[in-house]
């Protein structure tokens, strides 16, 4: 143990992931653990993570590594990292590599690297927190309630952003709701808060426009869900008057873990393009793109972290679907080397392409 923390009491930190971080923080707090949440993703966090990590490794691993560091400085000594089973992708090595590089850098930490099976999750949590079975179930339920709420208001924001009368109101409300949500740690306060927050969001003054150009966001789950990592694609498109849809979120991922036949359905739909898994959510990207084309969308944005093997494998297939169907398509590969200005230029040009596509369709 670190000399400044002689007590063996675990102080938890974990991998940051967009707005979901709030739900994860609540989960650990409800288990009676002390939590120092990971630092918000900033350019400094990304730079420090990238400096420590192996160069040719996935971007999410570098970012989450950078997010731990300030929390570790503040006294956290235990890190939670999940490795996903099933998808053959490098995500399962994140824990092992992060533990190694952090220990090599002199951090004395207890690294809990566990598999995302109910049994493994339960055992790890039980061991570290010593909470009772019911306490764990209760904490998990509260966690899911918060998670569902976060996903719900993100979806509501996708709808109201392009329609709001006063530009920026949705995002102001969103920031406010998220910072209050973080403070709520009793389940009985949550229901009232949720109702009030949803009411506020519904009361945003919007222009009555049913039909707007629609863009589907597909790609790697961490990148599409974390607004700081994807340079706030959703917000930027929304403010340009484009309705963004995104199917990929934690609930989607968990549902697939619990109901494996979802994968079989996806495989059947993408059979003309790809006949096997490529790991991660590679198949899902193709499935979502085909789905959005069927729904008559006006554009697809494909986001992937640099070196993401599953998404790189499906990218040529997505390009082919784009050539066949004529739907505007933009694939953005993100990492610490990418400048926001370059992303903005591409997004702005893409918005013009999407608008043209939408206008030609409706005339």
């Amino acid at each position: 143990m670190d000399a400044t923390h002689p007590s063996p009491k675990p102080i938890i930190t974990f991998a940051r992931w967009g707005n979901y971080t709030i739900a994860f923080k609540t989960l650990f707090e409800q288990l009676g653990l002390e939590v120092i949440p990971p630092e918000k993703t900033t350019s400094q966090a990304i730079a420090e993570g990238a400096r420590m990590a192996p160069e040719m490794f996935c971007f999410p691993m570098k970012v989450t590594l950078g997010n731990y560091l300030p929390a570790l400085k503040k006294g956290a000594n235990t890190i939670f990292m999940v490795q996903n089973v099933g998808g053959s992708c490098r995500q399962r090595y994140y824990g092992a590599i992060q533990e190694t590089v952090l220990k090599e850098a002199g951090h004395q930490i207890n690294f809990l690297d566990f598999r995302a099976t109910p049994k493994d999750v339960y055992r790890t949590i039980k061991e570290i927190s010593g909470a009772s079975f019911w306490q764990i179930i209760k904490a998990a339920l509260f966690f899911f309630k918060k998670l569902r709420f976060i996903e719900k208001i993100e979806k509501m924001a996708q709808y109201s952003r392009p329609r709001e009368v006063e530009k920026g109101e949705t995002d102001r409300l969103l920031t406010e709701i998220f910072s209050e949500l973080e403070k709520i740690n009793k389940e009985k306060d949550f229901l009232g808060f949720k109702k009030a927050a949803l009411k506020k969001l519904r009361e945003i003054k919007i222009e009555k426009k049913e039909n707007l150009p629609k863009v589907g966001l597909i790609g790697e789950i961490y990148t599409v869900c974390d607004p700081t990592v994807n340079f706030e694609v959703e917000r930027k498109l929304g403010l340009e008057g484009i309705e963004v849809h995104r199917e990929m979120d934690i609930t989607y991922h968990l549902k697939k873990l619990i109901f494996p036949w979802k994968d079989w359905i996806i495989q059947r739909k993408i059979n003309p393009y790809l006949r096997s898994t490529v790991g991660g959510h590679g198949r899902d990207a193709i499935y979502e793109m085909l789905h959005y084309i069927k729904e008559d969308f006006d554009g697809i944005i494909h986001l992937l972290p640099a070196f993401c093997m599953p998404e790189i494998s499906v990218r040529p297939i997505l390009e082919k679907i784009h050539q066949e169907s004529g739907i505007p398509f933009l694939s953005l590969s993100l990492d610490e080397q990418v400048a926001e200005a370059g992303i903005n230029t591409r997004l702005e040009a893409f918005v013009d392409v999407v608008r043209n596509h939408y206008q030609n369709k409706n005339h």
């Binding site: 920026g168 893409f350 043209n356």
Partner: protein, 332 residues
């Protein structure tokens, strides 16, 4: 006479274009940004002012005032420094360089299907269909094949960049230069020099390598159909023109005003979507003191780096914040 100004401030060069109501180019300038976009904008405005002063047919015969005939009715900016240029000049439209170039091409060559544009630091391909952009791509990380690299190589070989193309055309047997990456391209060129290949063969080989690199990296998977238009600073290079024609097996068209078509396009765009009155700050801006600074806002955990532009110590705009706390404030 109502005129529209298009300004394209890129990483290496700055372009100014003045058009009239009939989209005729009255004035075009192209010069190096030299790492200082604000100074480049001022310089461009000064040049334009002098041009209007000396060439303006509409000079008032009594007062001898210049600019009587020429009224700047709208300003549009594009290029990588478009926001800054927009703030400094008071632009009515700030447009990305892809849409701007596409517009410029559609006006000069309406039947064009493919646009290759290679500038100082970036290269892009635009696919057009019926005069509308349907697809595009830009180089993401690698700058191989862009103007800066050619510039550096010309300097290293000891050939002025203006002569680079002509020398390439004299080659009979272009050598094969590894061109996946600029660093490897350079070491491979040194190697080719040392085993005794002639200078023109190496230069021609480099041009072909860069054209291949562009098609493999930037234009990968894109549906390239003729007519193909070649734009940007690099399109001045005769060697690169021939290399693209060879590699693509198609005729490559280099239109008039090939280096300033982005500025031309944004001028047309501003003419089309004109607000009632232009926000142009006037030519006086070129004599003012303009400064940009940045600070980190600590209002929330986002920690945005807000950029602040001052003209004569007075804040005229702030941008780059996520919540709009600063950018939504009213500045005059």
């Amino acid at each position: 006479m109502k005129c529209y100004l298009g300004i394209d401030v890129g990483s290496i060069s700055t372009k100014f274009v003045l058009i009239d109501e009939e989209n005729r180019i009255l004035f075009a300038s192209y010069f190096r940004t030299e790492g200082n976009p604000i100074e480049a904008i001022k310089k461009g405005l000064r040049e334009l002012k002098d041009f209007i002063k000396t060439h303006n047919p509409g000079v008032d015969p009594h007062t001898k005032d210049y600019g009587v005939g020429v009224e700047i009715a709208g300003v549009g900016t594009t290029g990588s420094a478009r926001y800054l240029a927009g703030v400094v000049t008071g632009a009515d439209l700030i447009k990305n360089e892809i849409s701007a170039h596409a517009k410029g091409v559609i006006h000069s060559i309406p039947e064009a299907r493919t646009v290759i544009e290679i500038g100082g630091q970036d290269s892009k391909i635009i696919i057009l269909e019926n005069g509308v952009v349907v697809d595009f791509a830009m180089n993401l990380i690698c700058a191989a094949g862009t103007g800066s690299f050619l510039d550096a190589q010309a300097f290293r070989i000891g050939v002025p960049i203006e002569k680079f193309g002509e020398i390439a055309l004299t080659s009979k047997n272009p050598v094969i230069v590894a061109s996946r990456c600029t660093v490897f391209a350079e070491s491979d060129m040194i190697h080719k020099q040392q085993i005794g290949h002639s200078r023109e063969d190496i230069i021609a080989g480099l041009c072909q390598g860069l054209a291949r690199n562009f098609l493999n990296n930037v234009a990968k998977g894109k549906n390239i159909k003729p007519p193909i238009v070649f734009l940007g600073g690099v399109s001045e290079n005769l060697g690169m023109r021939r290399a693209f024609a060879d590699v693509l097996g198609e005729k490559v068209i280099v239109p008039e005003h090939n280096t300033v078509l982005g500025a031309f396009g944004v001028a047309i765009l501003v003419k089309k979507n004109l607000p009632g009155k232009t926000k142009f700050r006037g030519f006086e801006i070129s004599d003012r003191d303009i400064k940009c600074t940045s600070f980190i806002c600590r209002g929330c955990p986002n920690l945005c780096e807000v950029i602040e532009a001052r003209i004569e110590q007075k804040v005229v705009a702030r941008w780059n914040d996520r919540c709009g706390k600063y950018s939504n404030l009213k500045y005059d």
